[in-house]
């Protein structure tokens, strides 16, 4: 799965949001476009389970060979899981950003925040600029 899937939601800062098994939870990572721009990911710094973040608050950082970027929380919520596989193999973000390269699972505090996310068309417009 690459490109800009129609089923996902996006932020202007290149995070994606997909639904999780539980209804009030979402999975967050960075888009295929973002991993391509960053290049080889060497480290992902993730929060701890139980940490809470406001909408667009920095929840971690992602380090590529030449740069470090912040990761922004798409909606306010509490971290219920982090992708521990990234510790051993951060390149999963490059090879499978929407799947194995996911970063955090979040329990959404305010579902109305989800409405403010971009759909695939709106995100594509940002990327094409």
């Amino acid at each position: 799965m690459s490109g800009i899937p129609e089923v996902l939601k996006y932020t202007e800062e290149h995070e994606f949001v997909r639904s999780a098994e539980s209804e009030d939870e979402i999975v967050v990572g960075i888009t295929d476009y973002a991993q391509g721009e960053l290049g080889d990911v060497v480290y992902v710094e993730l929060p701890s389970v139980g940490d809470s973040f406001e909408r667009m608050e920095v929840f971690g950082t992602i380090e590529a060979v030449k740069a470090v970027s912040d990761l922004y929380c798409p909606v306010s919520g509490e971290v219920v899981a982090v992708n521990e596989a990234l510790e051993e193999d951060p390149a999963l973000v490059n090879t499978d950003p929407y799947g194995e390269g996911w970063m955090i699972r979040l329990r959404v505090q305010d579902p109305s925040g989800l409405d403010e996310l971009l759909d695939a068309d709106a995100y594509r417009a940002i990327v094409d600029e």
Binding site: Y43, E45, E63, A64, V65, K66, A67, V68, D70
Partner: protein, 444 residues
């Protein structure tokens, strides 16, 4: 030939672009009363010979004193070979170079410095050095704040007053609180008095502490780790590391220290060199530069600056720290010193210093009216004594007899001790010199 790259026309067009009519307009914020309105009041220029005579005359007024002062700066012997290598033109620069990888020799020396700092502190990773022990300590506190995302810093026991001040300066304006915990009756930090909670980012303990006493870190470490906080150990006297179990082995997560006693002259207090080491899991939170070893395409060993992506030139305001350089030349002096004296040599330096201090303490305690501030706590090579007369009188008597009879505790109200003298001993002090000190103290 003019060395200014900008022509008058360039200057005018730049001024026009920012809406200023003259260079002076750019300094509008400075009050009129502070602006110099005439030439500086300087004496006439001197010829080379006249300048040499003037400066030599000033230098000749410095007395050669036998030094019993310490308090964070120690008078150890610097082998002549240290200076010899240090002054080689290939090394003689204060900074890590901007194009570091072409200077493999410099990077190798820094890599060796880091390795030695790791061995001394008992921790996994060290950086290429920081300005001095006090700023290293403040950076360690900032790192603990960022690693734990907590807001409370506990300053425990007798911390060097300068270190305390720099920590205060570095943390002012941040939304954090500093909590001081006084030393116990024995002069060292007591585990039971530590106020740590799940809001504590770190506990800062100095060992040997500002009065020269050894702190027992292991029980403190357990207590601190239970609440998820970090133990930051400040080491103002790194020679002690040759004898005492390393802070890392005792559970410290970060060690921030002073490297001056290794190959750097006291020089009136600077320039010196800060040591910084931490557990590996904090490597991405560490301030400053780090040199790493790698292999080139042909499998040969090479050195690079590593983890630079988190530094200021790339991350700007989001950088891990503001340290974009190191104390290159001073760190090199420390590296040369440690390589020359070696593991055994450093141990001998430390042991001789300890023996001198303990000989002096025994002699001083025989004197009427002198007592150790903390008689029951073990010290390494520095200790505090109460004096039967004003320590200022003793210090001026010392100066008349050619010796610097310690540091007056009253200079440091933050220590909250009675007045007295803090006396330090190195391997350079002879028995005859110590006996002279005892005579000065006794007023003989």
């Amino acid at each position: 030939m003019s060395f200014l790259t900008h022509s008058e026309a360039d200057r005018q067009s730049m001024l026009a672009a920012v809406g200023a009519s003259s260079i002076r307009d750019l300094y509008d914020d400075i009050p009129e009363s502070l602006i110099l309105d005439g030439p500086l009041d300087l004496p006439d220029p001197l010829s080379e010979w006249e300048a040499t005579r003037l400066v030599s005359g000033h230098a000749a007024r410095n007395p050669e004193l036998v030094c019993f002062a310490g308090a964070g700066i120690y008078d150890h012997h610097v082998p002549a070979a240290v200076d010899h290598v240090l002054r080689r033109s290939e090394f003689y620069t204060a900074y890590t170079p901007y194009q570091p990888e072409v200077s493999q020799g410099t990077l190798q020396s820094i890599y060796e410095f880091q390795t030695m700092v790791c061995e001394l502190t008992g921790l996994d990773v060290a950086n290429a050095s920081i300005y001095d022990g006090a700023t290293a300590t403040a950076e360690a506190v900032l790192m603990a704040l960022s690693a734990t995302r907590r807001k409370e810093i506990v300053l425990a026991g007798h911390l060097h007053p300068h270190y305390r001040q720099v920590v205060k300066t570095y943390t002012q304006g941040l939304d954090v609180s500093l909590i001081s915990v006084a030393a116990g009756e024995g002069g060292t930090v007591e585990e039971g008095s530590l106020q740590v909670t799940d809001a504590t980012a770190c506990v800062l303990v100095q060992s040997p502490n500002a009065l020269g006493l050894i702190e027992e870190l292991a029980p403190l470490a357990d207590r601190i780790h239970e609440v998820g906080a970090l133990l930051v150990c400040a080491v103002a006297d790194p020679v002690s590391l040759a004898l005492v179990r390393s802070p890392g082995e005792q559970g410290a997560d970060v060690v921030a220290g002073e490297g001056q006693p290794f190959g750097n002259a006291p020089s009136f207090g600077g320039p010196v060199v800060g040591l910084f080491a931490a557990r590996e899991k904090y490597i991405r939170k560490m301030p400053g530069r780090i040199v790493g070893a790698t292999e080139d395409a042909e499998g040969r060993r090479g050195y690079v600056l590593t983890l630079q992506t988190r530094e200021q030139q790339i991350r700007r305001d989001k950088a891990t720290s503001n340290i974009c350089t190191n104390q290159g030349l001073n760190a090199l002096a420390a590296t040369l010193y440690l390589a020359m004296v070696g593991r055994e040599g450093l141990r001998q330096v430390a042991e001789t210093s300890v023996q001198n201090a303990h000989y002096a303490a025994a002699r001083i305690l025989e004197l009427e009216g002198f007592e150790l501030l903390y008689p029951d706590a073990p010290f390494v090579r520095e200790f505090a004594v109460r004096t039967p007369e004003d320590p200022r009188a003793i210090l001026s008597r010392g100066l008349e007899r050619g010796l610097l009879a310690g540091v007056r505790l009253g200079r440091f109200p933050d220590l909250e001790t009675p007045d007295g003298l803090l006396l330090a001993f190195t391997e350079k002090r002879t028995r005859a010199e110590i006996d002279r000190l005892v005579d000065v103290l006794a007023g003989r």
